[in-house]
């Protein structure tokens, strides 16, 4: 056990190296800037997210109002900063929850035939609803709010992680060295702990980065079409949707939230790509 932990770091080192340069570094910086901006919103924002400033109706971008003001005299920059928080909250809560749940289901599915059939059909059913449509269905029941967004992200992640873990587990079990371990009397839990988990960790991390990107997309999309966060609470998608009616009056009103969403989604994608590239480089 101790020797294993002492001598294994050849791979993780390569992994971390992936984020120290090139695409990976750009991704980390992009995500990091947005995350910091969201976390430090109370310090950075010049106004509160719902403060109506007298006389500041649909002003263009300026020193006081970096992204201008909106149709009810609120500072768009402050609203965007606070809006980041809700998307990050969904990323941080729903993605790990979905990953954990999906991973467990996938693990159980890979163990016996009948559980596999049930899990596979359940995944089929969930995947038959594209995320946005699933969101509409859930929002129809729960009403609009943060809850349907969290549910949809979890719902979208469960089959993804479930299938990933199931496929990887089955594949690993076919490998000669796992076969050798089982032939020599290793139990299923032994194989899972010592061979399967270390092996699928890489693909799980890549999928987590991709899923974070997907979660930002889903949550901002649901907020955009008005079935997410209830106004006047700010969210990136919500601010963007409000800006749609005022495109001619204040351009930065739309460009601000738009840029933040792009930076966030792109950042996660770049991190995922860098991780995949690092793994490939290692394999060859």
């Amino acid at each position: 056990m101790t020797t294993a932990t002492l001598k294994a770091p050849a791979r993780p080192r390569a992994k971390r190296g992936a984020l120290r340069g090139g695409r990976g570094l750009v991704g980390v910086v992009l995500v990091g800037v947005v995350v910091l901006a969201g976390l430090l919103a109370p310090l950075l924002a010049p106004f509160s997210s719902q403060e109506q400033i007298p006389g500041a109706n649909l002003l263009g971008a300026s020193g006081t109002h970096l992204f201008g003001t909106d149709e009810v005299n609120r500072d768009v920059f402050s609203r965007v900063l606070y809006g980041i928080r809700i998307d990050l909250f969904i990323c941080l809560v729903a993605v790990p929850a979905g990953a954990l749940l999906g991973g467990l289901v996938g693990l159980v599915a890979s163990q016996t035939g009948p559980s596999d059939v049930v899990a596979q059909r359940a995944f089929d059913v969930v995947l038959a609803f594209p995320p946005i449509i699933l969101g509409i269905g859930i929002a129809a029941v729960t009403g609009v709010g943060v809850l349907p967004v969290v549910c949809v992200v979890i719902g979208a992640e469960v089959p993804l992680f479930g299938r990933l873990v199931r496929a990887a587990t089955l594949k690993v079990r076919e490998l000669p060295y796992v076969d050798a371990a089982e032939s020599m009397g290793a139990s299923r839990t032994w194989v899972l702990r010592k061979h399967v988990l270390p092996n699928i960790l890489d693909s799980l991390i890549v999928q987590l980065a991709l899923s974070a990107s997907g979660a930002v997309f889903i949550s901002s999309a649901m907020n955009f079409i008005g079935i997410g966060v209830r106004p006047p609470e700010p969210s990136l998608g919500g601010v963007l949707a409000d800006a749609m009616a005022q495109l001619g009056a204040n351009t930065m009103y739309a460009v601000g939230p738009l840029a933040v969403i792009v930076v966030l989604v792109l950042g996660f994608q770049l991190i995922a790509q860098a991780l995949v590239a690092a793994r490939r480089g290692e394999a060859s």
Partner: protein
């Protein structure tokens, strides 16, 4: 006589490594030049360099002349006219050498089309003729690759290579992936095509038997250099370099082992099956009514071609596969109806060695951790005792303590297989199942691993089911031999008897098909066959 194909000073570099250096080869008209060498010797890279098909990261320098015309550095479209029409290539793996979603006739037609046969009907006629020349009925042009057997596919690949009537054929391990009986047929076809078309053949192979069978001259390569080029008879009779001598000595040959009758105790058999049937619904039985046993301390060689069911039997032996009918006993205990926990207790007494040394060790575990794994699983002794045991085993398989801290990718194939052997022996098993443990290794490495295996067997006295397709390998190891074919047990008996005077025509055919690494003996064989 001037050479048809002349390679001089060839040097191929990949980023960070030189694959081939200072290679010179002359290939004359109507001649078979064999290039032999073990993996990494640069023989395949040389072949690709001749055709200008090296990966874009590779740099080639030197000279490759065909009829005095320099091929290196020729523009792509001029090279394209050479490929297929002057120089053709046949590959090792017939199952992937053909496009799976196109009819074979179309694929051969593509070559004709590329070399200017524009008329569809003319192409169809030529394709039919070509297929007939390689012994495939012309009407099968409409079939897809997956509808052919491995040997038939290699025939189709030959037809494709010869479609544009080349003068030079480069055959890169053309029979390595095939069973011995099929290999014999393809070698016969190659010999006939070479004679009738007066082809110059550059035969790339690691198999000394194939060399003895086909070659006129032989070039021996090692680490990217040509060590010597000789007439085939001279090479086998009097090799001039130590490496060639060692290479020839490593080739397993039938009947070379001096047998000392070993005392086989007649206690409870380590492994016994009675009336064993394994089948999958809708397919012919993988194993049909097999009855055999392995006595304590005995090595049973299980021989058969691909699809014979030998690997299936190996999986039954370690309790990984449940039989459809019949009984399986390990050390006298019937496996039928045994629970998982009870099976685990039995497995403590079993060791397993797989074929593929690259995949049989966890890439993330150090060598030491891999060897202690069985001890960890069964919680034998303290951690310190396990490490001590592993180090002792490392020594037994002629590795050092220092190897223990390495990762599998830092070891060679032979070293990895020795680690796998050490792991299999960690629990001092009474029964070892070894499935083709040496077939992925180079001959010289195979020889040392086999020798080591024999020694360890003497030392530990375990019973063993030794699965192999190579009769000569089995001959070096086994006390008794069982022959499988299509799931049936053809015959079994003492190794000396089965491998010298078998009682069934199938085993006879297996023995006769494997080419002997001796050019004169091979020639006598062909002569006998022709007159018979």
């Amino acid at each position: 006589m001037s050479a048809l194909l002349r390679i001089e000073n060839l040097r191929v570099e990949f980023p960070g490594a030189t694959a081939v250096e200072d290679v010179a080869l002359d290939l004359h008209e109507n001649e078979v030049l064999a290039v032999v060498g073990e993996s990494g010797s640069g023989k395949s890279v040389t072949a690709l360099a001749v055709l200008g098909l090296l990966p874009s990261s590779a740099r080639a320098a030197g000279s490759i002349k065909l009829d005095g015309r320099e091929l290196l550095g020729l523009p792509e479209d001029e090279l394209r006219a050479v490929r297929g029409a002057r120089i053709a290539l046949v590959f090792q793996e017939p199952s992937t050498a053909l496009n799976p979603v196109e009819r074979v006739g179309w694929q051969i037609g593509e070559v004709l089309r590329a070399h200017g046969v524009k008329d569809k009907r003319e192409r169809r006629g030529r394709v039919g003729e070509l297929l007939e020349q390689v012994g495939i009925p012309p009407e099968r042009a409409r079939d897809y690759p997956h509808q052919f057997s491995g040997g038939q596919k290699q025939r189709v690949v030959l037809a494709l290579a010869l479609a544009a009537d080349p003068d030079v054929l480069i055959a890169d391990e053309p029979t390595t992936a095939l069973d011995v009986t099929v290999q014999a047929e393809i070698l016969a076809l190659l010999r006939e095509l070479q004679r009738t078309r007066r082809l110059a053949v550059l035969l790339i192979t690691h198999n000394m038997g194939v060399v003895a069978d086909l070659a006129d001259r032989v070039a021996v390569m090692r680490d990217g250099r040509v060590l010597e080029t000789q007439d085939v008879r001279k090479l086998f009779a009097a090799p001039s370099t130590p490496y060639t001598r060692e290479l020839l000595a490593s080739v397993p040959r039938l009947g070379r082992r001096e047998r000392t009758e070993r005392q086989i105790s007649d206690g409870i058999p380590a492994f016994a099956v009675d009336g064993l049937v394994v089948d999958h619904p809708g397919r012919p039985a993988a194993l049909d009514k097999i009855t055999l046993q392995v006595a304590p301390g005995e090595v049973l060689g299980l021989v058969g071609e691909s699809g014979s069911g030998k690997t299936t039997l190996g999986r039954v032996a370690v309790g990984r596969l449940r039989p459809s009918a019949g009984s399986v006993r390990l050390f006298g205990t019937d496996l039928t109806g045994l629970g998982r926990a009870e099976l685990r207790v039995l497995r403590r007494r079993i060791g397993v060695v797989h074929q593929d040394p690259a995949a049989s060790l966890d890439p993330r575990r150090t060598v030491l951790d891999s060897i202690t794994e069985p001890l960890d699983v069964h919680q034998v002794g303290s951690r310190a005792e396990r490490v001590a045991r592993a180090e002792e085993l490392l020594e037994q398989v002629r590795l050092t303590k220092e190897h223990g801290s390495r990762l599998p990718r830092e070891l060679s194939g032979g070293q990895r297989q020795r680690v796998a052997l050490a792991r299999a022996l960690a629990l001092e098993p009474d029964f070892l199942v070894a499935d083709e443990p040496t077939s992925a290794l180079d001959v010289s490495v195979q020889a040392t691993v086999l020798e080591l295996f024999s020694e360890l067997q003497d030392l530990h006295g375990f019973a063993c089911l030794f699965i192999s397709h190579d009769l000569a390998v089995v001959d070096q190891i086994a006390d008794r031999v069982a022959v499988l074919r299509d799931g049936h047990l053809i015959e079994q008996g003492p190794a000396a008897q089965i491998l010298t005077s078998p009682s069934t025509p199938y085993t006879r055919a297996l023995l006769d098909s494997a080419p002997i690494p001796d050019p004169d003996a091979q020639r006598t064989r062909h002569h006998l066959k022709a007159t018979a």
